[in-house]
Symmetry: C2
Subunit: 431 residues, 2 copies
């Protein structure tokens, strides 16, 4: 049986998972694909730490060049993460005639343009199924299965850490910091979870999905990003009473004026399937014009789940290499009906807003008067029980409004003497 050699850059969690699967499923895979995938070399800076898979010492190296320069290696699997030296390794590997499999969402989102151009120049492919949603096959789906479709929107719950924390707050009435502590203890949050909690990880993944769905590789700077660290239990509970869950939602949505690409906490109606995506699970909701509205749901992280996706990419590549040909992945085509990216100030959305105001007559009249001045109309309002002495939470749902207007109104309201805390505004989506 023909043998196809691969080299692994990065022998961490997902890397060990890939080795584990290729070893333990060797027979199954060979039977299915008609070639043997052989791990020729594995590179990691740290060769001392224990992994949950045995590997012969001779396979290991600390020198990436040993892999990149090995002419017998057909595919490199980049699982180092981070921008550098991952980027340089991939560029170099492509130049050396290797195909690339990577799970590196940050790198693709931030440097994808250069990487994809280089791959094209070298007549090689970059596969990246594991970069979004781990084992959920959303990359192949967008690229191949829905090849004839145009998309009006892509919604994703793409970050397991954030979703775990929000789910715990909502289901068990935990505070943000309690939920975060638990997430760390369970291994669902990294020691420094900033990228996850501040929405950067979701934004990286959203950029990849939007690239496949709309043919536009948006830059990170063009994505509006707001994380979950300002979400309080109070708002989760009030939203719950009103029939909504708060989720960190990644949104790429076509409007008449252009494309919105944004990540932020979002109120979703409880009867929407996305609202019941709990814990570390991910889900992607696609609105396509032929296949309709589709949802893909599964664990968004995990050693074997991500490794499963990496292996499916490897298999795709082996089929072409076996046949001795280069078959480029299908081209992404830019949706030319999209004229521009819509800035966050220009979006129109419904909002949940909360004010902490003095419990005095005329407060509501004052607030609603200001909102009305900014053309913001109130859909519902409820004044909650008193919280601290003299301060009452006022919760409103407001109809579709322009973000700019909302922000200005909130600023004006915030300056009122009767307002005792910075007001909260959370966007809403029907999905």
């Amino acid at each position: 049986m023909k043998k196809i050699n691969i080299g692994l850059l990065g022998f961490g969690n997902v890397g060990s998972g890939v080795v584990k699967i290729l070893r333990e499923r060797r027979a199954l895979l060979s039977q299915k694909i008609g070639v043997e995938i052989n791990i020729k070399k594995i590179c990691d800076k740290d060769l001392a730490s224990k992994r949950n898979v045995f590997v012969e010492k001779a396979l290991l190296t600390r020198d990436a060049k040993e892999i990149i320069n090995d002419p017998q290696i057909d595919i490199i699997v980049e699982l180092i993460g981070g921008l550098h030296p991952a980027k340089e390794y991939i560029l170099e590997s492509l130049k050396k005639g290797k195909n690339v499999v990577t799970a590196n969402k940050a790198l693709l989102a931030e440097e994808g343009k250069e990487l994809f151009a280089q791959a094209k120049d070298c007549s090689k492919n970059i596969y990246f199924e594991a970069s979004v949603g781990a084992g959920i096959p959303i990359i192949k789906t967008l690229r191949e299965s829905l090849v004839a479709n145009r998309f009006s929107s892509i919604y994703g719950i793409l970050n397991g850490t954030s979703n775990y924390i929000l789910s715990q707050m909502s289901s068990f009435n935990q505070s943000f910091s309690e939920a975060l502590k638990e997430a760390k203890e369970k291994g669902f949050a990294e020691k420094n979870p900033t990228l996850d909690l501040e929405g950067i990880d979701s934004a990286h993944k959203l950029i990849i999905l939007a690239y496949l769905g709309f043919g536009k590789l948006v830059s990170l700077n063009d994505v509006f990003i707001e994380g979950i660290s300002r979400i309080s239990l109070l708002d989760i509970n009030y939203a719950g009473e009103l029939g909504f869950e708060i989720k960190l939602l990644a949104i790429a949505k076509k409007e008449k004026q252009g494309l919105e690409v944004r990540v932020h906490p979002t109120l979703i109606p409880k009867n929407n399937p996305l609202s019941s995506v709990g814990g570390v699970f991910n889900a992607i909701y696609l609105s396509s014009d032929l296949a309709g509205n589709l949802i893909f749901y599964g664990p968004g992280a995990g050693q074997l789940s991500a490794a499963s996706a990496v292996v499916s990419d490897l298999v795709d590549l082996t089929q072409d290499i076996k046949a001795g040909l280069f078959r480029p992945t299908l081209n992404t085509v830019e949706d030319r009906s999209i004229k521009k990216l819509i800035k966050i100030n220009d979006i129109e959305s419904r909002y949940y807003i909360r004010f902490m105001a003095l419990d005095k007559p005329g407060v509501l009249a004052k607030i609603s008067g200001i909102l009305s001045k900014f053309k913001i109309s109130i859909a519902s309002v409820s004044q909650k029980e008193r919280r601290k002495a003299h301060t009452v939470p006022i919760v409103m749902i407001i109809h579709e409004a322009r973000e700019k207007n909302l922000r200005e109104a909130m600023n004006v309201i915030n300056r009122l003497q009767i307002i005792k805390e910075a007001p909260i505004a959370i966007r809403m989506e029907e999905v």
Copy 2:
């Protein structure tokens, strides 16, 4: 740009959809795939009926041979449905060196063995993404994306008609016949909906999914099939009170003793995502050992949705044809840990059961005494309000029991003087 000729057998609903997409997305597809898909000929018995797409007369024929024997046609798309002459057309086309795309679940389920063998002999591929779940890319997912995975279970809501009826009954308190009438009016049920309502269509699709998931092409006779026509509003309401929805579930599940392959109405807990799949939507729930539990959800029928899947198959084939090579689809590999198919009598399940009994003292004691004799233990019981004079519904949830025992117990209970209607038993699944 290279042109790849296809021939359409069947110019009905999905067939017109395929033509529509290939026409209206010609530019998009060419850009993405680098070849032009050209419809060279379309065959249908009925050329008089109006379609929602314009086609030049010269393209149309009533003679399938014109397509099958045309050496310039690379791919035939079989959308006739039914077993004959679809089977003969496909076999003949393979022999003539054509690849095949089909949406014909019945044919694949019942004659798949011969068709796949013929394809292999001829070094041609049969693609069938549209056969299950229309635009939901479940075939490619099982075959390619989850290539390294082993499955413990596959659950599907695979028939839109049945699901629509059950959803209407549950959500709007409609009777079975009211819901069926409405489904027909809305075009969600065929004039003769037997295949849909009796579970045959779901069974066909389940056979295909089980083939990809477990590598076993089960025969229709080996699938236990029970439709929804005996489901009453009464049971839907009682199940609802207990926290369950009733869904027509297609189940392929590995147990220690072997594989269960069955289709029947099933109580699913309301907090399970499958229970909220409403209307004509389909969903497939896969338990895989690497990628974890995944759910795929979307419209399970519809002209463009199914045609979207057909076009994705066409695109896959064009990529190989363009490269001038035959690249067989990945092999399915039999799961050898499956020793046999488990007969319905030998499954173990929880059950919802209902008796209509005389409202007399000692009735419950009698029934539960018999159940206990058959080693069936009751998890909960509720005696409902009186329905007809002297008759009360007794509803029970019973713990895991062997189906054989349950059936025998039900028979014995049915013979009691105090029992006034044939008892109802509906299986339950945790999913």
